[in-house]
Symmetry: D2
Subunit: 295 residues, 4 copies
């Protein structure tokens, strides 16, 4: 039976760790915030108060952290994971970070006799709680297969996108496209409204036409077209504008890697940046719909 060391008990990570516990894995947890460690201990995880303690008997490391520098520091910092873990561990990083950072991390771990996959998630806080996250993985097939048992405890759809770093690339391409879909759908709906159409009727029509997309299916940005989505709840909850902006910054960094041409992605980023700067950073990202409204 595997012994998992889990790092990063934020909104997402805490739920993911709980789901591993529920699936009867032995999970030792660590976070800089002691109260979060305590919370997980109450849920059945083994608490730890330092990185060395957390990995003392681990053969699997799972991390869920804000950015690449945190992952790098956790793994390779002084008295970090690498200094304290037994050989041939499987590292699963679920953070959303730059793909080139993931590639660097993977190379360093392999050269030290460890295994690594990047496994960024999609599905948000609700998906983490419900255990139906999507994982988009980069790594080799063997490591991917070995990681399945852990990922399935936390999620539902699990994809292998390619080699190490490919998980990050695929996720960020998807989220850049999502930003374009959300902004583009908002524009189209508002243009219809400006010309006298009912957004509900229009959404129905486009859903069955060539304008169909995920936002119209599950996440309509216009208030009161769909129940139980952020737009019908003052854009509370959901996927915050600030987080979309974090992902779009990563998308721009990915685009810069190989001079990819992404004019619509860049414009969507500018729209979400201005929207965030206008004070909407803590609203759901479908609130971009408001940016198209007349005064």
């Amino acid at each position: 039976m595997a012994n998992i060391a889990f790092f990063g008990l934020g909104n997402m990570g805490a739920s993911m760790a709980k789901n591993l516990v529920k699936a009867n894995f032995v999970v030792t947890v660590y976070d800089l915030v002691g109260s979060q460690v305590q919370l997980l201990a109450e849920a059945g995880a083994t608490p730890s108060s330092s990185i060395p303690e957390a990995v003392a008997s681990a053969d699997v490391v799972i991390s869920m952290l804000p950015a690449g520098k945190h992952v790098d520091s956790l793994y390779f910092g002084a008295n970090g994971v690498l200094d304290n873990i037994a050989d041939n561990a499987l590292f699963i990083d679920c953070s959303t970070i730059e793909s080139k950072t993931a590639i660097n991390i993977g190379e360093k771990l392999r050269s030290c006799g460890h295994r690594f996959i990047d496994a960024p998630v999609s599905g948000g806080v609700a998906g983490a709680a419900a255990g139906n996250l999507t994982f988009i993985v980069g790594g080799n097939k063997t490591d991917f297969d070995d990681a399945q048992v852990y990922l399935q405890a936390m999620g539902k759809n699990i994809f292998l996108a390619g080699n190490i770093g490919a998980g990050q690339v695929a996720k960020i391409c998807n989220n850049m496209l999502l930003a374009v879909l959300m902004a583009g759908t908002s524009e189209a709906l508002q243009m219809g409204i400006d010309n006298g159409l009912d957004p509900k009727v229009m959404s129905d029509i486009m859903l069955q036409s060539s304008g169909r997309n995920w936002t119209l299916e599950l996440y309509n940005p216009c208030p009161d077209v769909m129940p139980n989505v952020p737009s019908s709840n003052q854009y509370q909850g959901g996927f915050l504008v600030d987080l979309m902006n974090k992902d779009l910054a990563l998308a721009m960094s990915t685009a810069a890697e190989n001079q990819s041409v992404v004019p619509l992605g860049k414009l969507a980023q500018s729209m979400f940046q201005m929207h965030g700067n206008a004070g909407n950073g803590k609203l759901d990202f479908s609130s971009i719909f408001k940016a198209y409204k007349h005064n």
Copy 2:
């Protein structure tokens, strides 16, 4: 039994008229191109050689013409339809034209004792031939209900978008969004490819993620990801870049009506304009994918 006068026997119109004949309607046809009239005569329609002759005993008029000025001239020109048709006819214009032109036409017809719906189509030449076009209708409910029997002979999905002109608005909002989806999906796919991903794998992942949209489902722009789509056939056939540009010009006109804010729609238009100017006007519109390629 209704007596239909059908005007405009181009690629779309000819197929639509044939489907009306197949459904056992009495259809009198007229077009400036005599050979097209002859073609329909062979298919069972009644040929006519002038507008007055075409509408002599008509109580339904169906038109499928390139632009608003043609419809206006057909209906209201000297010795046109209005001068020659019996009272209380039902006019169904299936052309894609400016919504304000549709509204003007509707007002003029009503003031002369006739009835009008705008019923632009989606589905292209293939949909017209197969009789499964989508009709997006603007008009009142009674006229919409009365038109159903004719529209169903030519199409499958039939929507009432709102009052007269609303059909045009809904169609053009949808097609502007389609342009954004196609360009945005192309960008995301090419950025993935630039970073080493397989477009097929990436398409599969995005289809099951929040980037899902009509182009990934049915019309992938990247060659050889899907069989039987234009991208896998050198971008032949389908919906031409020139026609997308015609629709985007109408979208910009619709946006100008009420100062709608459509930055992504405008940028998509610029992309398709440049793509057409680069010599790709007669390719399918999914060929915009090529605009993102590295040299």
Copy 3:
């Protein structure tokens, strides 16, 4: 000596008419707002209370109105100028209108034995008051030469851009470019500020480098870089965002005429539209600088 009928006594027109009076022309004025007519009468113009009265002895007509429809109605409406003026009058329209409207007006006037130039202005309310407006004229050389004496009474730089309509095209191309310069300069300045630079130092450097442009020379959008510009006075006065949006709408209409490709112009329009919708319509257009600020 010419007898001028002057129509349109708004902020711009009133000052222009006054300058004609100062130059000792015989000027009969008309406006729907009686108090404005009275104001001009006090300044030495001959008041009139109807179009026929205004043109009774006129051989030159000068108009300064909000949009093409007003000019069209003034000239060609029932009991309008055309119905009441003597033969071979010189019409000078200083309004900013669609070039195709100007061309139509010119054709109609010529076919009735009159002469026409379109002569839109640049320089704003201050330029109108000071009598140093710029006139950008479309028309033939003879009419242009004959109009010089009147235009010089109201302005300083007087250009012949081409045939009738060309004045409107040149003005609107210039103003679309101005929108791009103002937004682009704002972006560059704010990016420098974001990275620790002093906007004054940066403006000095760019003024002597390849980023030099009219906005840096005379109209810096960053507060307190230049004295006596709107940005240093809470963006009061100057050229209103609403008016820039009017011009950008005309620019888009001009672009649509011949499918011109203007991606930056379109994006600048979207920026100014959103800026206006956010409640800044009555501020000077250099206030677009605020749209780039961080929160």
Copy 4:
């Protein structure tokens, strides 16, 4: 008398080093390409065959290299400049690199007892040859003053933009704005041409109006409007599209540093990227004008 070690003898660097020699400085040169070292030796410089040899008696280091990684490696690599130079040297880096790299370099040099300014140039190969480059400097006032004597031997306008890194920021903001000016001016000119205007007449008008900018003054992108500019010589020479794309990539990196909002800059980048990918990378950057032409 200062003893200068000069590194990087490409098109720019070779001319700059020659001008230092002409100004009677003692200049020791080094480059990986031996023939370039030989060329400078013939012009009066002291050749060297290694970094240690080049800096043996240097108290001033001037570098002109393609990217930040080259500067970093030159200064701090094994047996690089830092390992071999005497204390308290003045380092002047004329390369265009990321500002954060310049800041890092400056901090490292200062901590080792040296002095540093970043001094990127504007003016191109012609300016380097003629000795009238513009230098945009980041650093403290003392170092800036001490560097004047060397910079004046190579250039004409010398600006202090702020602290270390500020030279890079100011240059890159300027060049991003230049890209916007060039693309925006091209759009405006082509829209005028599309509507029947003479580009020469239009350029004259805009030069004296609010559309005035550096490209209209000195570098008109439309062929045959100005003599002796790249557009009138098949876009040969000048500032290559590839180099503008290098600068725009740096601009995007600078924008990402502090989440600057630069929609027009981003769109200009996309335009120049597509233009380069279409095979125009080795043309002058004013060739972007061609991207707006009708087919």
